[in-house]
Protein backbone atom coordinates (compact mmCIF):
# COMPACT_ATOMS: atom_id res chain seq x y z
CA UNK A 1 0.00 0.00 0.00
CA UNK A 2 1.21 3.43 -0.91
CA UNK A 3 -0.16 6.71 0.40
CA UNK A 4 2.08 8.91 -1.71
CA UNK A 5 0.51 11.37 -4.10
CA UNK A 6 2.14 13.40 -6.82
CA UNK A 7 0.73 16.78 -7.73
CA UNK A 8 2.31 18.77 -10.53
CA UNK A 9 5.52 16.82 -10.12
CA UNK A 10 5.76 17.31 -6.37
CA UNK A 11 5.55 14.15 -4.32
CA UNK A 12 3.72 14.18 -0.99
CA UNK A 13 4.11 11.35 1.49
CA UNK A 14 0.38 11.33 2.02
CA UNK A 15 -2.59 13.36 0.82
CA UNK A 16 -3.18 15.22 4.09
CA UNK A 17 -2.36 18.92 4.21
CA UNK A 18 -3.25 21.79 6.48
CA UNK A 19 -5.60 24.45 5.13
CA UNK A 20 -4.06 27.88 4.83
CA UNK A 21 -4.70 30.22 7.72
CA UNK A 22 -5.70 27.52 10.15
CA UNK A 23 -2.29 26.20 11.04
CA UNK A 24 -0.23 29.37 11.36
CA UNK A 25 3.14 28.70 9.87
CA UNK A 26 3.21 25.21 11.35
CA UNK A 27 5.07 26.46 14.41
CA UNK A 28 1.98 26.87 16.52
CA UNK A 29 0.77 23.32 16.01
CA UNK A 30 4.16 21.65 16.07
CA UNK A 31 3.57 21.19 19.78
CA UNK A 32 0.66 18.91 18.96
CA UNK A 33 1.38 17.46 15.57
CA UNK A 34 4.44 15.67 14.26
CA UNK A 35 4.77 17.69 11.07
CA UNK A 36 6.78 14.85 9.57
CA UNK A 37 3.53 12.92 9.35
CA UNK A 38 1.78 15.40 7.07
CA UNK A 39 1.80 15.53 3.30
CA UNK A 40 2.31 19.26 3.41
CA UNK A 41 2.01 22.29 5.60
CA UNK A 42 0.22 25.13 3.84
CA UNK A 43 1.09 28.44 5.43
CA UNK A 44 -1.16 31.41 6.19
CA UNK A 45 -1.65 33.76 3.23
CA UNK A 46 1.27 36.11 2.80
CA UNK A 47 1.44 39.40 0.92
CA UNK A 48 4.29 41.53 -0.37
CA UNK A 49 4.13 43.73 2.73
CA UNK A 50 2.76 43.15 6.23
CA UNK A 51 -1.03 43.44 6.51
CA UNK A 52 -2.84 44.37 9.69
CA UNK A 53 -6.04 42.58 8.84
CA UNK A 54 -9.46 43.42 10.22
CA UNK A 55 -10.40 44.68 13.66
CA UNK A 56 -11.60 42.17 16.26
CA UNK A 57 -13.90 40.34 16.79
CA UNK A 58 -12.59 38.33 13.90
CA UNK A 59 -14.17 34.97 14.62
CA UNK A 60 -17.67 33.84 15.49
CA UNK A 61 -19.10 30.46 16.13
CA UNK A 62 -22.06 29.20 14.14
CA UNK A 63 -23.89 25.88 13.96
CA UNK A 64 -21.39 23.25 12.91
CA UNK A 65 -18.72 25.75 11.99
CA UNK A 66 -17.34 29.22 12.35
CA UNK A 67 -17.07 32.53 10.58
CA UNK A 68 -13.76 34.28 10.26
CA UNK A 69 -12.81 37.70 9.05
CA UNK A 70 -9.12 37.77 9.85
CA UNK A 71 -8.61 39.97 6.83
CA UNK A 72 -5.37 38.24 5.87
CA UNK A 73 -3.20 39.67 8.61
CA UNK A 74 0.34 38.62 7.75
CA UNK A 75 3.90 39.70 8.45
CA UNK A 76 4.85 40.06 4.79
CA UNK A 77 6.74 37.68 2.58
CA UNK A 78 10.19 38.70 3.83
CA UNK A 79 9.46 37.51 7.35
CA UNK A 80 7.99 34.32 5.96
CA UNK A 81 11.16 33.66 3.99
CA UNK A 82 13.46 34.42 6.90
CA UNK A 83 11.56 32.85 9.73
CA UNK A 84 8.81 30.49 8.67
CA UNK A 85 10.24 28.63 5.71
CA UNK A 86 13.48 27.75 7.56
CA UNK A 87 11.36 26.49 10.45
CA UNK A 88 9.39 24.21 8.15
CA UNK A 89 12.53 23.01 6.37
CA UNK A 90 13.46 21.19 9.56
CA UNK A 91 10.67 18.76 8.87
CA UNK A 92 10.24 16.08 6.28
CA UNK A 93 7.09 17.53 4.79
CA UNK A 94 6.33 19.67 1.77
CA UNK A 95 5.94 23.41 2.09
CA UNK A 96 3.14 25.17 0.27
CA UNK A 97 3.02 28.93 0.62
CA UNK A 98 -0.36 30.59 0.31
CA UNK A 99 -0.14 33.96 -1.44
CA UNK A 100 -2.51 36.90 -1.26
CA UNK A 101 -2.53 40.39 -2.68
CA UNK A 102 -4.60 43.37 -3.56
CA UNK A 103 -3.32 43.86 -7.10
CA UNK A 104 -1.76 41.57 -9.67
CA UNK A 105 1.54 43.31 -8.99
CA UNK A 106 1.30 42.44 -5.28
CA UNK A 107 0.89 38.79 -6.13
CA UNK A 108 3.74 38.84 -8.63
CA UNK A 109 6.10 40.42 -6.13
CA UNK A 110 5.43 37.66 -3.61
CA UNK A 111 5.68 34.94 -6.22
CA UNK A 112 9.02 36.25 -7.42
CA UNK A 113 10.45 36.53 -3.94
CA UNK A 114 9.42 32.97 -3.22
CA UNK A 115 11.11 31.73 -6.38
CA UNK A 116 14.42 30.92 -4.77
CA UNK A 117 13.11 29.59 -1.48
CA UNK A 118 12.44 26.09 -0.31
CA UNK A 119 8.71 26.47 -0.90
CA UNK A 120 7.62 23.43 -2.90
CA UNK A 121 4.46 24.92 -4.31
CA UNK A 122 2.56 28.16 -4.29
CA UNK A 123 -1.13 28.36 -3.54
CA UNK A 124 -2.70 31.52 -4.85
CA UNK A 125 -5.59 32.77 -2.78
CA UNK A 126 -7.82 34.68 -5.17
CA UNK A 127 -10.81 34.00 -3.06
CA UNK A 128 -10.52 35.59 0.32
CA UNK A 129 -13.87 37.23 0.83
CA UNK A 130 -12.65 39.51 3.57
CA UNK A 131 -10.49 41.93 1.71
CA UNK A 132 -12.22 44.96 0.36
CA UNK A 133 -9.83 46.27 -2.26
CA UNK A 134 -11.09 44.12 -5.08
CA UNK A 135 -8.98 41.01 -4.62
CA UNK A 136 -12.20 39.08 -4.39
CA UNK A 137 -12.97 39.74 -8.03
CA UNK A 138 -10.00 37.65 -9.16
CA UNK A 139 -11.70 34.58 -7.80
CA UNK A 140 -15.23 35.40 -8.85
CA UNK A 141 -14.88 36.28 -12.49
CA UNK A 142 -13.55 33.74 -14.92
CA UNK A 143 -11.72 36.26 -17.10
CA UNK A 144 -10.01 37.94 -14.13
CA UNK A 145 -9.03 34.52 -12.83
CA UNK A 146 -7.62 33.63 -16.22
CA UNK A 147 -5.58 36.81 -16.37
CA UNK A 148 -4.07 36.63 -12.91
CA UNK A 149 -3.29 32.95 -13.33
CA UNK A 150 -1.42 33.55 -16.59
CA UNK A 151 0.55 36.42 -15.10
CA UNK A 152 1.55 34.38 -12.09
CA UNK A 153 2.46 31.37 -14.20
CA UNK A 154 4.88 33.56 -16.16
CA UNK A 155 6.83 34.43 -13.03
CA UNK A 156 6.42 31.43 -10.78
CA UNK A 157 9.31 29.04 -10.40
CA UNK A 158 7.24 26.57 -8.40
CA UNK A 159 4.07 24.83 -9.52
CA UNK A 160 1.01 26.99 -8.95
CA UNK A 161 -2.19 25.95 -7.19
CA UNK A 162 -5.09 28.32 -7.76
CA UNK A 163 -7.38 28.35 -4.73
CA UNK A 164 -10.94 28.89 -5.86
CA UNK A 165 -13.79 30.70 -4.19
CA UNK A 166 -17.05 28.84 -3.59
CA UNK A 167 -18.94 32.11 -3.89
CA UNK A 168 -19.56 31.67 -7.58
CA UNK A 169 -22.39 30.54 -9.81
CA UNK A 170 -20.38 27.95 -11.71
CA UNK A 171 -17.30 26.39 -10.14
CA UNK A 172 -16.57 24.28 -13.21
CA UNK A 173 -16.28 27.39 -15.33
CA UNK A 174 -13.79 28.89 -12.88
CA UNK A 175 -11.82 25.67 -12.75
CA UNK A 176 -11.59 25.58 -16.52
CA UNK A 177 -10.47 29.20 -16.69
CA UNK A 178 -7.63 28.53 -14.25
CA UNK A 179 -6.62 25.41 -16.11
CA UNK A 180 -6.67 27.17 -19.45
CA UNK A 181 -4.39 29.86 -18.02
CA UNK A 182 -1.85 27.25 -17.02
CA UNK A 183 -2.58 26.51 -13.37
CA UNK A 184 -0.83 23.33 -12.26
CA UNK A 185 -3.47 22.42 -9.72
CA UNK A 186 -6.58 23.77 -8.03
CA UNK A 187 -7.62 23.85 -4.43
CA UNK A 188 -11.09 24.40 -3.07
CA UNK A 189 -13.12 25.48 -1.31
CA UNK A 190 -12.26 28.66 0.44
CA UNK A 191 -14.86 29.89 2.91
CA UNK A 192 -18.43 30.75 1.95
CA UNK A 193 -19.41 34.29 2.85
CA UNK A 194 -21.72 34.44 5.84
CA UNK A 195 -22.95 36.71 8.60
CA UNK A 196 -24.01 36.42 12.20
CA UNK A 197 -25.99 38.96 14.17
CA UNK A 198 -26.07 39.17 17.95
CA UNK A 199 -29.77 39.80 18.47
CA UNK A 200 -29.26 41.07 22.00
CA UNK A 201 -26.46 43.50 21.19
CA UNK A 202 -28.23 44.25 17.92
CA UNK A 203 -25.10 44.21 15.82
CA UNK A 204 -22.94 41.90 13.76
CA UNK A 205 -20.74 39.59 15.79
CA UNK A 206 -17.79 40.22 13.46
CA UNK A 207 -16.35 43.70 13.30
CA UNK A 208 -16.11 43.19 9.54
CA UNK A 209 -19.86 42.30 9.48
CA UNK A 210 -19.44 39.44 7.00
CA UNK A 211 -16.96 36.60 7.33
CA UNK A 212 -16.09 33.28 5.77
CA UNK A 213 -17.96 30.17 6.83
CA UNK A 214 -15.91 27.03 7.38
CA UNK A 215 -16.22 23.77 9.26
CA UNK A 216 -18.47 20.70 8.92
CA UNK A 217 -21.44 22.86 7.91
CA UNK A 218 -19.92 23.51 4.48
CA UNK A 219 -18.76 20.00 3.68
CA UNK A 220 -21.60 19.00 1.34
CA UNK A 221 -21.06 22.15 -0.72
CA UNK A 222 -17.32 21.54 -0.83
CA UNK A 223 -17.69 17.91 -1.89
CA UNK A 224 -20.08 18.96 -4.64
CA UNK A 225 -17.69 21.62 -5.92
CA UNK A 226 -14.70 19.28 -5.85
CA UNK A 227 -16.80 16.77 -7.75
CA UNK A 228 -17.86 19.31 -10.37
CA UNK A 229 -14.45 20.93 -10.76
CA UNK A 230 -12.36 17.78 -10.78
CA UNK A 231 -14.52 16.39 -13.53
CA UNK A 232 -14.29 19.57 -15.58
CA UNK A 233 -10.48 19.76 -15.67
CA UNK A 234 -7.48 17.47 -16.03
CA UNK A 235 -5.26 19.14 -13.43
CA UNK A 236 -5.37 17.81 -9.87
CA UNK A 237 -7.70 19.27 -7.26
CA UNK A 238 -6.91 19.60 -3.56
CA UNK A 239 -10.16 19.33 -1.65
CA UNK A 240 -11.11 20.99 1.60
CA UNK A 241 -14.09 22.31 3.49
CA UNK A 242 -15.30 20.87 6.76
CA UNK A 243 -13.07 17.83 6.88
CA UNK A 244 -13.15 16.51 10.44
CA UNK A 245 -12.13 12.86 10.15
CA UNK A 246 -10.72 10.28 7.78
CA UNK A 247 -14.20 9.43 6.48
CA UNK A 248 -14.67 13.04 5.40
CA UNK A 249 -11.27 13.11 3.73
CA UNK A 250 -12.07 9.90 1.86
CA UNK A 251 -15.34 11.43 0.67
CA UNK A 252 -13.34 14.22 -1.00
CA UNK A 253 -10.88 11.75 -2.51
CA UNK A 254 -13.78 9.74 -3.90
CA UNK A 255 -15.40 12.89 -5.28
CA UNK A 256 -12.25 13.53 -7.28
CA UNK A 257 -9.69 15.26 -5.06
CA UNK A 258 -6.05 14.22 -5.33
CA UNK A 259 -5.29 15.44 -1.82
CA UNK A 260 -7.14 17.11 1.03
CA UNK A 261 -6.59 19.92 3.49
CA UNK A 262 -7.96 20.32 6.99
CA UNK A 263 -8.89 23.74 8.29
CA UNK A 264 -11.22 24.76 11.09
CA UNK A 265 -11.23 21.32 12.64
CA UNK A 266 -7.64 21.83 13.76
CA UNK A 267 -9.14 24.21 16.28
CA UNK A 268 -11.45 21.55 17.59
CA UNK A 269 -8.94 18.75 17.59
CA UNK A 270 -5.30 19.77 17.21
CA UNK A 271 -4.36 16.17 16.43
CA UNK A 272 -6.89 15.79 13.64
CA UNK A 273 -4.48 15.92 10.67
CA UNK A 274 -2.42 13.01 11.95
CA UNK A 275 -5.52 11.04 12.82
CA UNK A 276 -6.84 11.56 9.30
CA UNK A 277 -3.61 10.38 7.71
CA UNK A 278 -3.81 7.21 9.79
CA UNK A 279 -7.52 6.75 9.14
CA UNK A 280 -7.06 6.90 5.39
CA UNK A 281 -4.43 4.18 5.60
CA UNK A 282 -6.73 2.06 7.68
CA UNK A 283 -9.54 2.41 5.18
CA UNK A 284 -7.22 1.50 2.31
CA UNK A 285 -6.03 -1.54 4.19
CA UNK A 286 -9.57 -2.62 5.01
CA UNK A 287 -10.75 -2.35 1.42
CA UNK A 288 -7.50 -3.45 -0.21
CA UNK A 289 -6.90 -0.20 -2.03
CA UNK A 290 -3.30 0.16 -3.15
CA UNK A 291 -2.98 3.79 -4.16
CA UNK A 292 -4.66 7.03 -3.09
CA UNK A 293 -5.79 7.49 -6.68
CA UNK A 294 -7.67 4.21 -6.28
CA UNK A 295 -10.06 5.98 -3.96
CA UNK A 296 -11.44 8.18 -6.70
CA UNK A 297 -14.73 6.93 -8.08
CA UNK A 298 -14.94 7.72 -11.74
CA UNK A 299 -18.52 6.75 -12.08
CA UNK A 300 -20.09 8.22 -8.96
Amino acid sequence: MNTKVKIAGVEFKNPVMTASGTFGSGMEYAEFVDLNKLGAVVTKGVANVPWEGNPAPRVAEVYGGMLNAIGLQNPGVDVLIERDIPFLQQYDTKIIVNVCGKTVEDYLEVVEKLGDTAADMLEINVSCPNVKEGAIAFGQKADCLYDITSEIKKKAKQPVIMKLSPNVTDIAEMAKAAEAAGADALSMINTITGMKIDIHKRKCVLANKTGGLSGPAIKPVAVRMVYQASRAVKIPVIGMGGISCAEDAIEFLMAGASAVAVGAMNFVNPYVTMEIAEGIEEYMRKYGIEEISGLKIDDL
Partner: protein
Protein backbone atom coordinates in the same frame (compact mmCIF):
# COMPACT_ATOMS: atom_id res chain seq x y z
CA UNK B 1 4.99 20.15 29.92
CA UNK B 2 3.75 22.18 26.97
CA UNK B 3 0.27 22.60 25.57
CA UNK B 4 -1.90 19.55 25.33
CA UNK B 5 -5.44 18.55 24.64
CA UNK B 6 -6.40 16.06 27.30
CA UNK B 7 -9.36 14.23 28.72
CA UNK B 8 -9.92 15.24 32.29
CA UNK B 9 -12.34 14.28 35.02
CA UNK B 10 -14.59 16.68 36.83
CA UNK B 11 -13.73 16.41 40.53
CA UNK B 12 -16.53 18.58 41.78
CA UNK B 13 -18.84 21.34 40.73
CA UNK B 14 -21.08 23.67 42.65
CA UNK B 15 -23.00 26.80 41.93
CA UNK B 16 -21.56 29.85 43.69
CA UNK B 17 -24.65 31.84 42.94
CA UNK B 18 -26.95 29.17 44.34
CA UNK B 19 -30.05 29.72 46.40
CA UNK B 20 -29.30 31.54 49.58
CA UNK B 21 -26.58 33.70 48.07
CA UNK B 22 -27.54 37.25 47.52
CA UNK B 23 -28.06 38.77 44.11
CA UNK B 24 -29.17 35.61 42.43
CA UNK B 25 -32.19 37.36 41.09
CA UNK B 26 -30.04 39.38 38.71
CA UNK B 27 -29.69 36.17 36.81
CA UNK B 28 -25.89 35.81 36.93
CA UNK B 29 -25.14 32.15 37.40
CA UNK B 30 -21.63 31.43 38.54
CA UNK B 31 -20.15 27.97 38.82
CA UNK B 32 -17.07 26.60 40.48
CA UNK B 33 -15.51 23.45 39.09
CA UNK B 34 -12.43 21.44 39.98
CA UNK B 35 -10.80 19.32 37.31
CA UNK B 36 -8.28 16.53 37.69
CA UNK B 37 -5.40 17.01 35.25
CA UNK B 38 -1.66 16.98 35.30
CA UNK B 39 -1.79 20.17 33.28
CA UNK B 40 -2.04 21.72 36.75
CA UNK B 41 1.62 20.84 37.32
CA UNK B 42 2.99 23.94 35.71
CA UNK B 43 -0.06 26.14 35.47
CA UNK B 44 0.66 29.80 36.04
CA UNK B 45 -1.65 32.43 37.43
CA UNK B 46 -3.30 34.32 34.60
CA UNK B 47 -3.10 31.41 32.20
CA UNK B 48 -6.24 29.82 30.88
CA UNK B 49 -7.56 26.56 29.56
CA UNK B 50 -10.00 25.91 26.73
CA UNK B 51 -12.96 23.63 27.32
CA UNK B 52 -14.64 21.84 24.42
CA UNK B 53 -18.43 21.59 24.62
CA UNK B 54 -19.97 18.22 23.78
CA UNK B 55 -22.93 19.75 21.95
CA UNK B 56 -21.98 19.28 18.34
CA UNK B 57 -23.67 22.44 17.18
CA UNK B 58 -20.93 24.29 19.07
CA UNK B 59 -17.46 23.33 17.98
CA UNK B 60 -15.05 25.93 19.27
CA UNK B 61 -13.39 25.57 22.64
CA UNK B 62 -14.27 28.06 25.40
CA UNK B 63 -11.41 29.91 27.06
CA UNK B 64 -11.69 29.98 30.86
CA UNK B 65 -9.06 31.34 33.26
CA UNK B 66 -7.35 29.21 35.83
CA UNK B 67 -8.75 30.28 39.17
CA UNK B 68 -6.66 28.01 41.32
CA UNK B 69 -4.01 25.41 40.55
CA UNK B 70 -3.33 22.63 43.01
CA UNK B 71 -0.03 21.75 41.42
CA UNK B 72 0.86 18.89 43.77
CA UNK B 73 -2.43 17.07 43.44
CA UNK B 74 -2.87 17.82 39.77
CA UNK B 75 -6.06 19.81 40.00
CA UNK B 76 -7.30 22.96 38.37
CA UNK B 77 -10.15 25.12 39.56
CA UNK B 78 -12.21 27.29 37.26
CA UNK B 79 -14.96 29.71 38.15
CA UNK B 80 -17.18 30.82 35.33
CA UNK B 81 -20.39 32.56 34.51
CA UNK B 82 -23.11 31.06 32.35
CA UNK B 83 -22.94 33.28 29.31
CA UNK B 84 -24.24 31.16 26.46
CA UNK B 85 -24.54 27.65 25.11
CA UNK B 86 -21.10 26.38 26.06
CA UNK B 87 -20.99 27.57 29.64
CA UNK B 88 -24.57 26.44 30.10
CA UNK B 89 -23.51 22.96 29.11
CA UNK B 90 -20.53 23.10 31.47
CA UNK B 91 -22.81 24.03 34.33
CA UNK B 92 -24.48 20.64 34.03
CA UNK B 93 -21.29 18.65 34.47
CA UNK B 94 -21.07 16.51 37.54
CA UNK B 95 -18.23 14.92 39.47
CA UNK B 96 -16.86 12.00 37.46
CA UNK B 97 -17.79 13.38 34.03
CA UNK B 98 -15.09 13.30 31.40
CA UNK B 99 -14.43 16.50 29.55
CA UNK B 100 -11.80 17.62 27.09
CA UNK B 101 -9.61 20.60 27.70
CA UNK B 102 -6.67 22.27 26.05
CA UNK B 103 -4.07 23.86 28.29
CA UNK B 104 -2.33 25.58 29.76
CA UNK B 105 -2.55 28.54 27.44
CA UNK B 106 -1.26 32.08 27.41
CA UNK B 107 1.51 33.81 29.29
CA UNK B 108 0.11 34.45 32.76
CA UNK B 109 0.99 37.33 35.10
CA UNK B 110 4.68 38.19 35.52
CA UNK B 111 5.32 37.41 39.20
CA UNK B 112 8.86 38.76 38.92
CA UNK B 113 7.45 42.22 38.22
CA UNK B 114 6.13 42.26 41.80
CA UNK B 115 9.53 41.95 43.42
CA UNK B 116 9.94 44.60 46.07
CA UNK B 117 6.87 46.43 44.88
CA UNK B 118 3.57 47.52 46.35
CA UNK B 119 1.13 45.47 44.32
CA UNK B 120 -2.58 45.89 43.92
CA UNK B 121 -4.52 43.05 42.40
CA UNK B 122 -7.86 44.03 40.90
CA UNK B 123 -10.60 41.81 39.67
CA UNK B 124 -13.89 42.96 38.27
CA UNK B 125 -16.88 40.63 37.98
CA UNK B 126 -15.99 37.43 36.17
CA UNK B 127 -12.42 38.80 36.01
CA UNK B 128 -12.05 37.97 39.70
CA UNK B 129 -11.31 34.22 39.38
CA UNK B 130 -7.72 34.47 38.03
CA UNK B 131 -6.91 36.84 40.91
CA UNK B 132 -7.10 34.01 43.42
CA UNK B 133 -4.17 32.03 42.07
CA UNK B 134 -2.29 35.25 41.42
CA UNK B 135 -2.73 36.28 45.02
CA UNK B 136 -1.62 32.88 46.26
CA UNK B 137 1.47 32.91 44.08
CA UNK B 138 2.42 36.43 45.08
CA UNK B 139 2.02 35.50 48.72
CA UNK B 140 3.96 32.30 48.39
CA UNK B 141 6.78 33.84 46.42
CA UNK B 142 6.72 36.53 49.06
CA UNK B 143 8.82 38.96 47.09
CA UNK B 144 6.34 41.78 46.81
CA UNK B 145 6.61 44.47 49.43
CA UNK B 146 2.89 44.48 49.83
CA UNK B 147 -0.11 42.92 48.13
CA UNK B 148 -3.63 44.29 48.32
CA UNK B 149 -6.71 42.95 46.60
CA UNK B 150 -9.67 44.86 45.25
CA UNK B 151 -12.63 42.93 44.01
CA UNK B 152 -15.44 44.64 42.17
CA UNK B 153 -18.83 42.96 42.20
CA UNK B 154 -22.15 43.80 40.72
CA UNK B 155 -24.05 43.11 43.88
CA UNK B 156 -23.85 41.32 47.21
CA UNK B 157 -23.01 38.02 45.55
CA UNK B 158 -19.35 38.16 46.66
CA UNK B 159 -18.02 34.98 45.07
CA UNK B 160 -14.44 33.96 45.90
CA UNK B 161 -14.13 36.69 48.53
CA UNK B 162 -13.65 34.21 51.35
CA UNK B 163 -11.12 32.24 49.32
CA UNK B 164 -9.07 35.34 48.70
CA UNK B 165 -9.29 36.50 52.29
CA UNK B 166 -7.27 33.46 53.30
CA UNK B 167 -4.33 35.16 51.63
CA UNK B 168 -4.89 38.79 52.57
CA UNK B 169 -7.28 41.65 53.00
CA UNK B 170 -9.82 42.10 50.29
CA UNK B 171 -11.35 45.47 49.52
CA UNK B 172 -14.76 45.14 48.00
CA UNK B 173 -16.66 47.40 45.67
CA UNK B 174 -20.23 46.73 44.60
CA UNK B 175 -22.13 48.51 41.91
CA UNK B 176 -25.30 48.51 43.95
CA UNK B 177 -23.53 49.48 47.17
CA UNK B 178 -24.73 46.36 48.94
CA UNK B 179 -21.22 45.67 50.29
CA UNK B 180 -17.94 47.57 50.54
CA UNK B 181 -17.48 50.75 48.58
CA UNK B 182 -20.34 51.67 46.28
CA UNK B 183 -18.94 51.85 42.79
CA UNK B 184 -16.13 50.07 41.05
CA UNK B 185 -12.56 49.05 41.82
CA UNK B 186 -11.20 52.49 40.98
CA UNK B 187 -13.57 54.02 43.51
CA UNK B 188 -11.94 51.84 46.16
CA UNK B 189 -8.52 53.20 45.30
CA UNK B 190 -9.83 56.72 45.76
CA UNK B 191 -11.90 55.98 48.85
CA UNK B 192 -9.12 54.09 50.61
CA UNK B 193 -6.29 56.22 49.21
CA UNK B 194 -4.42 53.09 48.12
CA UNK B 195 -1.10 53.33 46.39
CA UNK B 196 0.56 50.90 44.05
CA UNK B 197 3.74 50.47 42.04
CA UNK B 198 2.29 47.54 40.17
CA UNK B 199 -1.29 46.72 39.30
CA UNK B 200 -2.40 43.33 38.05
CA UNK B 201 -5.94 43.16 36.85
CA UNK B 202 -8.66 41.33 35.00
CA UNK B 203 -12.16 42.54 34.36
CA UNK B 204 -14.44 44.34 31.96
CA UNK B 205 -12.97 46.67 29.35
CA UNK B 206 -14.06 49.95 31.00
CA UNK B 207 -12.28 48.88 34.18
CA UNK B 208 -9.15 47.95 32.28
CA UNK B 209 -9.21 51.27 30.48
CA UNK B 210 -9.54 53.10 33.77
CA UNK B 211 -6.58 51.14 35.16
CA UNK B 212 -4.58 51.96 32.09
CA UNK B 213 -5.17 55.70 32.59
CA UNK B 214 -4.50 55.39 36.30
CA UNK B 215 -1.20 53.65 35.68
CA UNK B 216 -0.21 56.34 33.22
CA UNK B 217 -1.08 59.10 35.66
CA UNK B 218 0.46 57.47 38.71
CA UNK B 219 3.51 55.94 37.10
CA UNK B 220 2.43 52.44 38.12
CA UNK B 221 3.02 49.42 35.93
CA UNK B 222 -0.30 47.82 35.07
CA UNK B 223 -0.58 44.26 33.83
CA UNK B 224 -4.03 43.62 32.44
CA UNK B 225 -5.60 40.44 31.20
CA UNK B 226 -7.56 40.85 27.98
CA UNK B 227 -10.35 38.87 26.39
CA UNK B 228 -11.28 38.31 22.78
CA UNK B 229 -13.18 35.70 20.81
CA UNK B 230 -10.89 32.80 20.05
CA UNK B 231 -10.86 29.93 17.63
CA UNK B 232 -7.60 28.00 18.01
CA UNK B 233 -6.34 29.25 21.37
CA UNK B 234 -2.77 28.50 20.33
CA UNK B 235 -1.75 31.40 18.15
CA UNK B 236 -2.45 29.86 14.76
CA UNK B 237 -5.64 31.49 13.51
CA UNK B 238 -5.00 35.17 14.33
CA UNK B 239 -8.56 35.39 15.54
CA UNK B 240 -7.96 36.89 18.95
CA UNK B 241 -5.82 39.93 18.38
CA UNK B 242 -5.61 43.19 20.27
CA UNK B 243 -4.08 46.36 18.94
CA UNK B 244 -0.59 47.12 20.20
CA UNK B 245 1.20 50.43 20.44
CA UNK B 246 4.27 49.22 18.64
CA UNK B 247 4.84 46.66 15.97
CA UNK B 248 4.52 43.22 17.50
CA UNK B 249 7.62 41.04 17.25
CA UNK B 250 5.76 38.03 15.95
CA UNK B 251 3.13 39.54 13.71
CA UNK B 252 5.21 42.45 12.40
CA UNK B 253 2.08 44.58 12.57
CA UNK B 254 0.44 46.36 15.48
CA UNK B 255 -1.55 43.32 16.54
CA UNK B 256 -0.73 40.79 19.22
CA UNK B 257 -2.44 37.47 19.79
CA UNK B 258 -4.23 37.43 23.12
CA UNK B 259 -4.11 33.64 23.34
CA UNK B 260 -0.34 33.36 23.07
CA UNK B 261 1.24 36.79 23.43
CA UNK B 262 -1.31 37.47 26.21
CA UNK B 263 -3.81 37.33 27.76
CA UNK B 264 -1.73 39.49 30.10
CA UNK B 265 -0.28 42.64 28.60
CA UNK B 266 1.47 45.65 30.02
CA UNK B 267 -1.28 48.23 29.76
CA UNK B 268 0.93 50.80 28.10
CA UNK B 269 1.75 48.38 25.29
CA UNK B 270 -1.80 47.88 24.10
CA UNK B 271 -4.32 50.10 22.46
CA UNK B 272 -7.61 49.39 24.18
Amino acid sequence: MGKKKVKTKVVSQRELSGKGTEGRETGERIYDMWLETDLAGDARAGQFICIYPQDKSTLLPRPISICEADRENGRLRIVYRVAGKGTKEFSHYKAGDDIEILGCLGNGFPLEAAEGKRVIIMGGGIGIPPMLQLLKDLREEGKAEDVKVIAGYRNGQLFLKEDMEKYGDVYVATEDGSAGTKGNVMDVIAAEALQADVVMACGPMPMLRAIRSYSGEHGAKAYISLEERMACGVGACLGCVCRTKKEDAHSHVKNARICTDGPVFLAEDVDI
